[in-house]
Symmetry: C2
Subunit: 419 residues, 2 copies
Amino acid sequence: LSASTPLDRLMSDFHELSRIGANALGGVERQAATAADGAARRWLTAALVRAGATIHIDQVGNVFGFFEWVAGAPYVLTGSHLDSQPNGGRFDGAYGVLASLDAARHLSDDVTTGAWAPTWNLAVVDWTNEEGARFQPSVMGSSVFTGGLAREVALGAEDSQNVTVRQALTAIGFLGEAPTGRDFLAYAEIHVEQGSRLTAQQTELGIVTGSWAAFKYDLEFTGEQSHTGATPMAQRKDALLAAALVISGVHALAADAGDFHASVTELEAYPKSPNVVTARTRMHVELRAPDMQVLWELEARFLELLRTAHRETAVTNVIVRNWHREAAAYWPEGIELARRAASAVGLRTSEMATISGHDSIALNSVMPTVMLFTPSAGGWAHNVNELTEEADMLNGLIMITQVLRDLCTLSGGGVRFRA
Amino acid sequence: LSASTPLDRLMSDFHELSRIGANALGGVERQAATAADGAARRWLTAALVRAGATIHIDQVGNVFGFFEWVAGAPYVLTGSHLDSQPNGGRFDGAYGVLASLDAARHLSDDVTTGAWAPTWNLAVVDWTNEEGARFQPSVMGSSVFTGGLAREVALGAEDSQNVTVRQALTAIGFLGEAPTGRDFLAYAEIHVEQGSRLTAQQTELGIVTGSWAAFKYDLEFTGEQSHTGATPMAQRKDALLAAALVISGVHALAADAGDFHASVTELEAYPKSPNVVTARTRMHVELRAPDMQVLWELEARFLELLRTAHRETAVTNVIVRNWHREAAAYWPEGIELARRAASAVGLRTSEMATISGHDSIALNSVMPTVMLFTPSAGGWAHNVNELTEEADMLNGLIMITQVLRDLCTLSGGGVRFRA
């Protein structure tokens, strides 16, 4: 591929896929294992079959398209996710799946015409529930694939209506029985940046060198239901006030600490009456930092905030750290391989850690993994305004194709991962 | 009545009524115009009929029982409300209705035996939706009765499921067509205190001398949906953070200002995803103060908090003051009448303003009104732990009976209010 590569096929795919779950705001509502996600999966499956792939739906609904060019050889794997956030953007995940699909078609064409002879096979994947909006945890399908999350835990996860992942995948016809039974050598993913670092640095491609550490918590405050009029201020135990102190405190921590991201989201408050002091609040808290040492220090300061909130409001809390991800470095040879590929086509690159979770982080723990970012105009993410310009979509397609071409001919082949 | 008055009838009523909508926590779930409220209304209607009253359901569902002892004479009105907060207590409103009912039975017995000859008639009332939990505004039925709230506004109010008051009252069979067409002279209500002032002052009865001013607001923040990981902290527009700053700021205002109550309740946050920065929050804010001057000053400080939150978070807001109540004094002759009645039976009294809203505040704007408080053990309010001891229930019954006896023989009779 080169700068003269036609983008028509990818753009045509993109416009078709973007109509699935499209909302009036210009975004998509295609949360994991909903009917819209099912339609997107059927669209992808049909496209993979047309491109010559063999389909496998695994035990947690991950959709694989296998291009077996060399009988019995292990696979290089590439893909991303088709599920979206609520009222999400068209590019997050979807761009990566489409770029992987089109790269596979280009490479397959080269195999067919005899222009190229790979050593290894190629597989395209759509991972189940990367977003973690409807069902927690996020990065679900890839974590089951790598063994980081038990299948039964994933399938038993419930949405807010108490529908399980098992039920939802069954309903859309995408719950498979078994792992693929194939061997994998490496993973490559391209994803929109979801930030403004590339734009700020005036570069055209991000090469991911590492991933931030993160702790995620469920926090519940229990105060006391009382009267907003009659009850003296000093006697109230207001679970909403306790939540407010922690929300603003966590934000101040992040502002103080510099290279550190934190958020409180999904706040729920009960009971719902204008003149009743809130008795119970629940929320989700995330702390993210470049390394574990910083993260542990920040957790200590966060727990101190909880103690302060208790002293000031007499509200009690239960805090559960339900998820952690350690900081990790990406495969050095993969980083070098991406640098060379970018240099060959004259793309300016930035090397950066990913702060967000991605399926590639799960894969990076079990096999050599390459992760690329293509620019997000305006830095929009988890928002209907997400945009990656066509020129950048093309650059990303060229890059993922070259990286896959290199991985599929990598000498040695390394340790195989069976899943 | 005297200290030897039997309490059995009131306690028997209380235990029967408390079973309607009883929950496992020892409280009641009997929000306005629900099936449980309908059952409570049917229970009351039957009891009033057995006591010899004529029933009228007015245009907003208020339930009246008319004891017409003197043909064509105007009425003294007494009552409170049977609706509860979500997961509310057994005493709030219910105690007042039951005490009024039992007082009417005692007085009716005295009329029947010829022991007492009133000048005026008596009516017992259960006001629709005093609590304002399911439907806003609160103090709804009494405000329609007094003309302070248009019937169509009240009947059009919707709950969170978009059911209107009109539909809900129709469903339980308690939407009447017309006002009572009767004339009223005065109103008397007894209610549990919902605070600890009586206990603190070691008194047995509260005589309400005035009511606090209050402003109520709907506040909405609009931020921007973004990624909790990738989005730089400084670029976020977190509507939950803006809410937190205002919640803690309003609470700090109340702590600073002394004689001032404030609350933020009913917080709702969207979208609901762990890794999406909150784009929109909605909440209810109340400011209550002893007089309007203080309240206006506090509103100015509250609005300054909103400006600060905007500067710090770049989140925008829309604030609507949807309700206000001016401070008011209660009827001086009624206060004196209550003092004399308490003195006659040897009860220690406290005179106090009510901070909470009550139906009597609406009535106080159109006719001479007497409001009494009986102690709330532990000060619990809008909580399943609400408790008024039997000795206090008896004292309250004795007092409301004596006040009604005095009002029904009040010379002159004053200005009539027709509704």
